[in-house]
């Protein structure tokens, strides 16, 4: 796992990412760290499927940013299917 100068944090530390999971939830937030156990996000927007399609949620965030609902969340690594930089999403 590549590390940065951020005190041993994951290379995505400080970067806004989309975290997709095997469940109903998709998260967008600023990555604090990714370990073998969890993905830790700060200032997190959560999509649970109730507010429309996931792709719309991601596309809107890619264009304007995301509305943080949670200050911090730790997502179990085994439920994470994909981590993408929000900047790499084409709005």
């Amino acid at each position: 796992m590549e590390r940065t100068f951020h005190h041993g944090k994951h290379e995505l530390h400080g970067i806004t990412v989309v975290v997709e999971t095997s469940g109903a939830h998709t998260f967008i937030g600023r990555c604090d760290d990714i370990t073998d156990e969890r993905v830790v996000l700060l200032d997190v927007a959560v999509h649970d499927g109730a507010e429309g399609p996931k792709d719309d949620f991601i596309a809107k965030a890619a264009k304007f940013g995301h509305w943080a609902k949670e200050k911090a969340l730790a997502i179990p690594r085994e439920s994470v299917t994909k981590v993408t930089r929000l900047a790499d999403v084409t709005a």
Binding site: H13, I15, G65, R85, A87
Partner: protein, 144 residues
């Protein structure tokens, strides 16, 4: 909690040295934004090195461009809390992020660069984003 002012000072100075107007109170923001005619860039500055480290050099390059806003002001997120909140009230439909850039034309938000479009970019890429918006919205006759 705001950062140590001594830590933040060089980050403020990177912008004020370019002639950017520092807006450290809500009143200063209102006064600055009160003049709606022409083009205005508001820079939401930030300590975060992951993004702000290239935001300020990007602004520096962009402000050398032929087309640029008439007025450029900055608030410091996490430091000047009231000023930042007031500045964000001028673009309430956009999620707060820092650093970020908001370009207004005749009082209307016409371009916004959120934090995630700055993170991990180099200064040239950040500048290119801004300069493209300047070319679109800041006609040369309006430049400072």
């Amino acid at each position: 909690m705001p950062y140590d002012p001594q830590l933040v000072q060089p980050m403020r100075q990177e912008l004020t040295d370019l002639g950017v107007t520092e807006l450290d109170t809500a009143d200063a923001v209102d006064s600055f934004m009160g003049s709606k005619e022409g083009t205005t860039l508001v820079i939401v500055n930030s300590v975060c090195g992951c993004a702000a480290g290239m935001a300020r050099p990007g602004v520096k390059l962009a402000l050398r461009h032929e087309n640029k806003p008439v007025r450029v002001g900055t608030v410091f997120a996490g430091q000047d809390l009231d000023a930042t909140a007031r500045a964000r009230a001028y673009f309430p439909d956009v999620p707060p992020s820092s650093p970020s850039f908001a370009l207004f034309k005749d009082g209307e938000l016409v371009h916004f660069v959120p934090r995630h479009q700055i993170e991990g970019q180099d200064a040239q890429t950040v500048a290119f984003n801004l300069m493209s918006a300047f070319d679109q919205h800041c006609a040369s006759g309006q430049s400072a």
